[in-house]
Symmetry: C2
Subunit: 134 residues, 2 copies
Amino acid sequence: MSGQLTIGKLAGATGTKVETIRYYEQIGLLPAPARSAANYRTYDAAHLRRLSFIRRARDLGFSIDQVRELMGLADRRDQSCMAVDVIANQHRDAITRKIADLTALASELDALIDSCSRNTVADCRIIEALAPSV
Amino acid sequence: MSGQLTIGKLAGATGTKVETIRYYEQIGLLPAPARSAANYRTYDAAHLRRLSFIRRARDLGFSIDQVRELMGLADRRDQSCMAVDVIANQHRDAITRKIADLTALASELDALIDSCSRNTVADCRIIEALAPSV
DNA sequence: GCTTGACCCTCTAGTGACTAGAGGGTGCAT
DNA sequence: ATGCACCCTCTAGTCACTAGAGGGTCAAGC
């Protein structure tokens, strides 16, 4: 119904920065919209849908390349869902690994912090722990 | 004892890439070493210690700026350990937040993946979930 | 003594995903 | 008609490296 949107309205509607939208256009992620007489970008509902999709996928941590892939699959509606499933699962695995890494790291840091006496740096366990035992 | 190290040996000893060492020198994180007659960088034990410290801190996820700060504190050995503690704790908090974010994200993704029927993309729940409800 | 290959040098540009700024034009309300 | 928020393009900066071009050096083996 609303029809045309300026870049600012589109930004507001999707929680994206104006610069980011122009960036997405530049890298070919979002199609270039029509222009007004004053050369303003004018977006329609299709753009809104596409950008919402992009933002949602990005918020879920998919890379721009993965988003591109997902959109390509979404556009060819006759294909199997399995390709999409594969991408999502790969991404899920990457997140699992990241969480494990961060958790290990957090407990290392905790040990460091726990051992920090309130003495001068000369006795600081954190500095010691970071320094090599040379 | 060993005394002098080429950049390659230093890289091997610390698990750093040669290019990264040159980069650290360029940004002033690692002091520029002496040069051989053939203009080769020649590192000593102090460089090895410093680079080990840097690598360890980076592995623990400290930013280059944080490493710089930590090294500055380590160098002024008369100061309180508390400044170090503050940096470590800030970093710990950031990691806690990151883990929480990733965990939330993982369960969202799991829900998406679970709901993915093996039908064509037209019925794909992942695409649906990513697309806006317009 | 000469060649081969692994190492070293500098300098520049590329990565991902934006973000910021300069320098200017447009639209609308007062 | 004036102010202000918005829009435009273009360029460069961010972070922490990484890669490549185009060259010099060193040590071992023949």
